[in-house]
Symmetry: D4
Subunit: 215 residues, 8 copies
């Protein structure tokens, strides 16, 4: 498995990771990790591999775009001195283009998204052991839907960045496409974005598989 | 216009009509009509045609299917002695088939839906001056989506019933298809079902046009 | 219609516009426009003319007088860079003279009202495409009532200012006078100031007619 | 003064008397009389004439019409065995005619009002020492206002009943007309019905004067 | 009467005056005067003498001692520019000596009390038309009770100050002694300090008599 | 000590015992005994004599008079099958005579008090091992105060009953008289009835001494 | 795996299963399964094996003992017609013996526990396809602790019952013993009973392994 | 007894002392001491020795370690000028090592604990009359439990410090060991740390015995 004894693993992103995690730092007692897939990952690894003594920090914040990560990266990521940084960002960068079409200042264009993301990775790799990148997604099986199509472009950018820097990549959009062969998206999320418990477990399982955890 | 001086117009249906209307009877002071399209219709007609003194009652209840209407029709519709009965039902009859696939007892099949609806219409027309039927809908532009396809079958049933009984029919699904030429559905409803203010006004405007209100 | 594709329309005023709009800026998702006539105007135009992609901002604040607008005009109006500015102010300037007669520091005299308003208009027209002015009002049909009589003077001042600067004027007081031919004012507002849903729709319809929206 | 040592004085009516009195019986510790004019009367008499040991019960209920009093008269008045019964009723009998014009079942016509009131008086006088009747009112100085005009008819009926049965009559409408020579009604009540503290004290003072309390 | 047309009357003191008055300034709409005897005085004068247009401000604060008044006198009294200043202070100066005997820093000795009070009066009289001083009190009929005996010393000091400066003095302790001939103190206040409605009205009536209001 | 291994001790009375104990039965986990002297007694005996395994039940109810105990004695005392029954009742029987002088139906006269109490004791002694009676009290050091004088009569009745039936008697009034040599009553209770923590511990210590607990 | 396509799996037990599941039936939308290991099991199977369309119902209730299950077995288990019934009961049967030692009526002795459990199994197997039994546990590594020792006896009883009826048995106590080789119990549960997220995931993983789910 | 007339006794520590005491200073009216053993000690001494007029201050804060005391010692202890300082600290210094094993920055090692504690004592003794030290504890009877074993080391350090400085030492761990001969720890604290009422009384009794209070 990617993670070894005593390492600190930090997760950063938007509401998909947040789910009521403790603020300002999502680590420690009293459910500080919140109730998202991040908590499912941590609970699984603590329960299955207790001898590793891994340390988990959840720094997701509702509504964040890559611009917001950029502003808080020093304090919320680098200052935390993690060994691994796991990023799930981009959904709001795209979503605002469709749910707030008249407010362009809320939209993050693809080139800005990719360039900012790239810079954050470079800064991080000088200090951390590695990173895991998860694709942004939209739970819309119809690839012709304009928001799904746009999201796919942002997901492709993340894939490019992972390849460029040799990082682990988790293709969450592909995971949903597989799952929705068997059920309608409304079974996982009312808004096709925020997963229920089953959806979070689905993300957690893909993440765990990608980092080499074997059950 | 369909409605004339002093008439009582009753609306019945599911959460799309309910939106926090007063219980048990949605009529009277203190915002008793709730905040859905029903309230927009009433406010528009009261403001534009005050001389008519129309009377509005909102009897929608969250989560209702045609089965639920059937159980409460005598008390909630017939006993209210309305002149006009406006019905928007069917969304939950279909939705449960997709968000609760493992619980078939929550699904209302098409034949039961149409037969029950037909019976309610016949009973009502013995007593009321007329009815307005609104199609159930799903704010999914992709007609190949299985839930959209199923909803279209239920909408077609309503259209058949309106034709059979000579009633005014409002094709809300067609209205959304027109609107989503210009915007993404997430601009109107997070879950593609429950409209924001703009969505309710859109329904209200279609209803008003259908009953012959001219601005 | 006055407004064309992609324009930003800002509404400013007192509680009649506010009705729980988002603070500090009343724009965006989650019902940010509140539930007043401003929201009814925006919902109507978005539903009826989606191809225009108009942008709406509600900056009303409970209890404001023209003095309060003056203090926040730069930040709340000019800095927002609207194309159109719609103003409904003056009710509290007059009301305090009658509900707080012993506190003269809360009263805004007519000359100060008109002069301040005039200055705000001049500043705005250097930057915006235009303005819409709505008369302050008191839902008292008896023109001999001292507060109604005083309010009429303030309404006349707004009318003068609209004429002087060639701006669209909406005579809300006249609108109420017409409506109260058919019903008592207590049917619209407990306090003869704050409208219920029907009252807001009535204002919205007059505004829409004045800006040339045709149904 | 009308009341003598150890007597029990019961007040019954609508929201003007209720103002959060204890339910089901408005008597006793912990502010059981509420905060209306009834409480002002009781506090004044207890403070000024403690040697009398008078007993006060407030049985007002929000929204009541004379029909509601009729239904609960046995339990809420007669069973309480008061020496004196003070009645302020009629405001909602008239108000509903103007704020709910389309719902005639909520209106109490003048003849029904007077006949019911007369019957309640007759029943009560068989048992109690006497009654005090207060006129219903509308804080509208304009006597041509249709609701004011209607309310005056109901007030005249109460005056007739007081004369017929030889009871003390308190003309609250006349009291407001006097007061509004000096201030606007909005200084006393937002809705021209529910008084602020000054308004309640004004009612209490008229009541006390009528029953012969001399400061 | 002491007060004449258009004058501003300010009340300052402790919890006996406060009773939930608006902060920071206890004046204006929405029950800003709270529910103490101050509100009863204002309501009585507004209702009985509306032509005077008197202005009332309640600046009492829970738990205050004369030391606290001293600290806030400039902002809360002088800056308000009242014509009349009415003071009820001293209860907490004494009470803490008995309910917090081990904390001497919470006790205000008699000499400090009188000297501070004297200084505040002198400062005020340079600016205001006059003052009304109310004695602190303890609702304990037994004059041998140590707290009652101590309170009587503080009350005597207030009486001396009133005489020295020629100010109106209201002897509230004497008022309670009269009242408790007819009832037990627990009928007015659970803690022998904070009056119920009857107790407040009793204070208000004594105040009104002292300033020459004749019913 | 009176109590021996494995016995069940039940306390019954009014608010002095209740202090938020669990309803309907004040026994068990989660602070079921409330926070009164009953809880202090139980905590002391459990901590000091854990080998006894005593069982404590608190059945006090706010506002109870001996009449209320009579009504619920079968269910709340006898059906609980206690070995010992400890009673503190009478405060409200007297208090209502002074805080509610106009409502005689709330007063329990001395003869009724003593007769009812006597009957409850007789019934109980057929079944339980014994009883402890605590005197009602009023924290008024002045024995000439009418409520103190009356309370002393009720306390004397309890003493008579204890003597008649050979039961342990705890003279709480004497305990307060001793304590108030050193402090003012307002240091223990705002209303001279409901003790603070020190007051409850004072009652508990007297109870423990009376039943023979030696530190 | 034990479960096959379309089967309904019901979980019943105490607070360890409950964790805020929907009442009266823990099935359906809006997080009806609560947040315990039951929800983790369901989320894992739905995410990993969506093609099976399994149906999950959580019927755990806080504080239940086997006696409580017995009372509600017909309605809460048999009437639900499950294919599989999974039971985790016994913790409270033992716990009350140690946290409520003086209340024997709250203790369930071992023989009653085993006999009742046996009867429930026999009744169920007439109708369901099978059952899964989970051992009760106490997160105390010290086997000499009296509560741990007692709990081990109840766990052994469950193991006997599973063997007798040929049912799948999950030895949760053994699972904790393994886990606490690597961490202190206070890392999983403050009270050594109610697991945090990691503890629930640990239970869920053992359950999934026992029913033959392979990752 | 250690404490004499008029002395001020300050308690400082963690949540065991805090239990909702007033902030920032835990002294005075309205239950300012909270509901922990500190309040039991104060209530007992005030009730039993009222002539001493002792003064109690509770400065415990939830979650504190000796590091936190160090930071606030000047303001929260020395500036309060107590005669006696009673300290119960160390539980969280140890607990974090076991409930947060992956976060070493939350652990206070033994040498730092003892050195800091020693320094605080030296500083205090320059100013106060004396100190009372209470051992930290863990309600785990099994001395082989790693957290109990570690806590015993910290308790031994406190014992050493008391001996070194000639201070009164209260061995709370020994007190629990005695008590748990008769009951299981879950009868006193769910988490083996935070006592119920009986546990607090048990601490208070040991403290009182140690300072020489004789019942």
């Amino acid at each position: 498995m990617l993670f070894t004894k005593g390492e600190k693993i930090l997760f950063i992103g938007d509401s998909i990771s947040d789910y009521n995690r403790a603020k300002p730092v999502g680590e420690g007692l009293f459910g500080a990790l919140g109730t998202s897939w991040v908590a499912d990952v941590a609970a699984t690894l603590e329960a299955a591999r207790p001898e590793l003594g891994l340390r988990f920090v959840n720094m997701g914040i509702d509504g964040n775009q890559v611009r917001d990560l950029d502003k808080r990266w020093q304090r919320d990521v680098l200052d935390q001195k993690p060994d691994w940084v796991c990023v799930l960002i981009g959904i709001n960068d795209v979503w605002r283009q469709f749910d707030s079409p008249t407010r362009p200042e809320e939209h993050v264009p693809l080139d800005e998204y990719e360039a900012t993301y790239d810079r954050l990775i470079q800064t991080t790799l000088r200090q951390a052991r590695g990173m895991v990148l998860l694709s942004p997604y939209f739970m819309e099986p119809n690839r012709a839907d304009p928001m799904r199509a746009r999201m796919d472009e942002y997901g492709a950018a993340v894939k490019r960045l992972a390849a460029k820097h040799g990082l682990t990549f988790v293709d969450l959009q592909a995971g949903w496409d597989w799952l929705f062969q068997y059920m309608h998206p409304c079974n996982i999320a009312w808004d096709r974005i925020h997963p229920n418990h089953t959806g979070h477990m689905h993300i957690a399982r893909q993440f765990l598989a990608a980092v080499g955890f074997e059950g």
